[in-house]
Amino acid sequence: METQTRKFEILRYRPEEQSEPEFRSYEVPCMPDWVVLDALNAIKDDIDPTLSHRWSCRMGVCGSCGMLVNGRPVLTCAAFVRDYEGTIRVEPLSNFPIVRDLVVELDDFVHKIQSVKPWIVRKLEKDVEQGEYRQSPAQLEEFKQFSMCINCALCYAACPVLASEPDFVGPAAIALGHRYNLDSRDEGNAERYDAMHGHNGVWSCSYANECSQVCPKHVDPAMAVNQAKLTGALQWTGILPKKSMT
């Protein structure tokens, strides 16, 4: 296969040498079936070893390689070079502080995931010897979509609310909390209520729907957030009960 040389503009930031991020250009010979991540690796291997970026599975499921390509948050392992015309601009995810080059600070994101208590909460835990909980395909279907999130954080990069309210719990975390609330095995939605419906919870969302536009796994976090608004409102009024383990 013939390679074709493509121009990449990559936002570089090396805090030990630069005070501010700036773009640097690279000419990269690309194979026709390359994804943007392949080009980044080619730069790292053969052109400039100082480029830092995260990646791992390169099949769209580990969630490491989210970046902005021509301004859109994408998984670079699933963004084909051939689908872009002219110069390709690669930047770290928006709405996250930049640690270095294309690497952003994710600890806050992980704390938000943790804040919604994304685990099964029950009054009584069944013993393993007693076998599985029965769950019908319909009950599974109710939350399945929201369990598909790979934590790639593209939705956080796209969310206009997070741009102005950095403390907003955010689409992925709320979708995950909602996923557990909808799980027939769970009895803990009261435990998640404060995180999901508190000051930085669902009501910060103004339904820009950007999260669902960029989600590579079709989780539709906007749907989760807005379903959670309805559930939360009904719980607040007492129409729907809060399930609690205490």
Binding site: C57, M59, R185, D186
Partner: protein, 572 residues
């Protein structure tokens, strides 16, 4: 230097590591666990497992059958006492995952569904569509978040085990974020870093699978066991090596050559009537033989065969194996509903690994445990059956977590820590020097040459000459590795340093694989030699053990544990 102390230290945060961490917390109410991982746990390669996890679940199945299938699949190289322990615990662990919220696919009556898998005689593979590993990993990660006592050190790269008087008491690791080396001290250390498939160029393995834990243990004096057994998965996408799950065959998909023949059925490759449901080693060999007979299809990345799912229909594909459709569409532009998928054998899994006993403890170094793909316990022998590795992570992750807590609570003497901290400081000096290292060799170049040497020497079919050449090449590359130059001397998130250290680990693992392979003069499971095509139980019904020595690896053997099942000819 900052010294961080926990009771139990984990290196690696994938399926086995997270399971071990949770088990440790459940085993003791006040144990503290430090989890050192070079990536955020939910990025770990467990995430890429697709097809499912085996565990006896139905009336037509039994522990006995699962044991027999596993042993036969292993070509009788698995330790039978360990397989019994494994099979007995596997289904319980999968149920435990169900209790923790794993979204297993369900039957209409609400029970967990099971599907067929290669080499398994009945349906016993639990699945969550075809993203089983993803769902298991996220369930484990999310469940681990409820324990404050699991303290995570995400994006810390472990570079050395701290061993004093034959007892492992910690690990030196550097924080990618700051470049700072820290000294982690604990009463027991569990390795759960996964395999090292990246020694090969064409692999389903993620970039992070560089054999780090294997190298750590190897350098600390533990043997690497059965390293010559490398599993080729028969259905990877050409070029990228992306895995197309075995579940696609479990659900009824067919493999076809360029004449559209189901070659596994029409030519005798020893796979038997069950054809597409044969074990991975045999089907991979059959594909290569098909290529050699000129019946493969030609593509830009070499020969391939077709995986035909069209007869399953859109509905079944979307319901059971949607990820296969997504991957095929995204990466090769083919919709399996209408067209067959091009596939070829691809390096997938290492049966070998750090030598451990049934509790994950490593003989020779006290206080050190290993679980998951990094370990060789051994249930997989010469060929792992598909869907046994996910429960392996759970079963032996749990066992090693519990064993580590038991060991730690025996009150092993604290002893002076200066020696340990001193080792970490030496590590700090080594990394500082590495950051500023000047040399003529390039990391990427050595890695490429290593990959191509391994592919030529230790592929699906092996021969004396090419393996000997491979051993030589790896040794030369090890020499050249000493002369690499580093272009990035910065501290903050320096991924070039990570790549340099990973390359060192890859070289260790590759050498162990090549040395083990060259010495095993028989064909067994995934280790197939053209010059010794028969299995030789008289001489080689033994585990190989490769030990580190300054002047090159030392090879040794240990008998396989046979209890109730005598080795038989492996026919399907």
């Amino acid at each position: 230097m900052e010294v961080i102390e926990h009771d139990i230290l984990l290196v690696g945060g994938g399926g086995a590591g997270l399971r071990a961490a949770i088990a440790a917390c459940e085993a003791s109410p006040d144990v503290s666990v430090g989890m050192v991982s070079k990536l955020y746990p939910m990025r770990s390669h467990t995430v890429s497992a697709e097809g499912g996890a085996a565990g006896v679940a139905r009336d037509d199945d039994s522990l006995e059958l699962h044991i027999q299938d596993t042993l036969k699949g292993s070509d009788y190289l698995a330790d039978q006492d360990v397989v019994e322990v494994f099979v007995d615990a596997a289904h319980k662990e999968l149920t435990q995952l169900e209790h923790w919220g794993c979204p297993w696919s369900r039957e209409p009556d609400g029970r967990v569904s099971v599907r067929f898998f290669g080499g398994m005689s009945v349906k016993r593979t639990w699945y969550a569509t075809d993203k089983t590993g993803f769902h298991m990993l996220h369930t484990l990660f999310q469940t681990s978040l409820k324990y404050d006592r699991i303290v995570r050190y995400d994006e810390y790269f472990a570079t050395r085990l701290l061993v004093r008087d034959g007892v492992c008491r910690g690990v030196a690791a550097f924080d990618l974020r700051t470049g700072e080396v820290k000294c982690f001290l604990g009463r027991a250390v569990i390795l759960a870093t996964g395999g090292g498939g990246r020694i090969f160029p064409f692999t389903t393995n993620a970039a992070v699978k560089t054999g780090d834990g294997m190298s750590l243990a190897y350098r600390a004096g533990v043997a690497l066991k059965d390293m010559e057994f490398v599993q080729y998965h028969p259905t990877g996408l050409p070029g990228t090596g992306i895995l197309i799950t075995e579940a696609s065959r479990g659900e009824g998909g067919h493999l076809k050559n360029k004449h559209g023949e189901r070659f596994l059925v029409e030519y005798d490759y020893g796979v038997g009537d069950r054809a597409e449901l044969g074990p991975r080693d045999m089907i991979s060999r059959a594909e290569i033989l098909e290529f050699e007979a000129g019946r493969g299809l030609r593509g830009p990345y070499g020969d391939y065969v077709h995986l035909d799912l069209r007869h399953l229909g859109e509905q079944k594909i979307d319901q059971r194996i949607p990820f296969v459709r997504e991957l095929a569409r995204n990466y090769v532009g083919i919709d399996p509903v209408w067209e067959p998928i091009p596939v070829r054998p691809v390096v997938h899994y290492m049966m070998g690994g750090v030598d451990t006993d049934v509790d994950g403890a490593t003989p020779g170094v006290e206080g050190l445990y290993a679980a998951g793909e990094v370990a060789c316990v051994s249930i997989n022998g010469a060929n792992r059956l598909g869907s046994n590795s996910l429960p392996e992570c759970l079963v032996f992750g749990k066992r090693s977590g519990e064993a580590a807590v038991a060991y730690a609570s025996q009150g092993a003497s604290e002893g002076p820590r200066e020696a340990l901290v001193g080792q970490a400081q030496a590590e700090e000096a080594r990394l500082d020097a590495l950051r500023h290292k000047v040399g003529g060799e390039k990391i990427a170049q050595i890695r490429r040459e290593l990959n191509s040497a391994m592919e030529q020497g230790c592929g699906v079919f092996r021969e004396e000459d090419s393996m000997a050449a491979c051993v030589d090449s790896v040794r030369q590359l090890k020499g050249r590795y000493a002369d690499i130059g580093i272009g990035d001397s910065s501290r903050i998130f320096n991924t070039e340093i990570v790549q340099a250290l990973e390359l060192g680990n890859l070289l260790d693992v590759a050498e162990a694989v090549a040395v083990g392979a060259l010495a095993r003069r028989e064909s067994r499971g995934a280790h197939t030699r053209r010059d010794y095509p028969e299995r030789n139980d008289a001489d080689y019904l033994r585990h190989s053990l490769v030990r580190f020595a300054a002047d090159g690896p030392r090879l040794d053997y240990r008998d396989v544990t046979i209890t109730r099942w005598q080795p038989q000819e492996r026919k399907y």
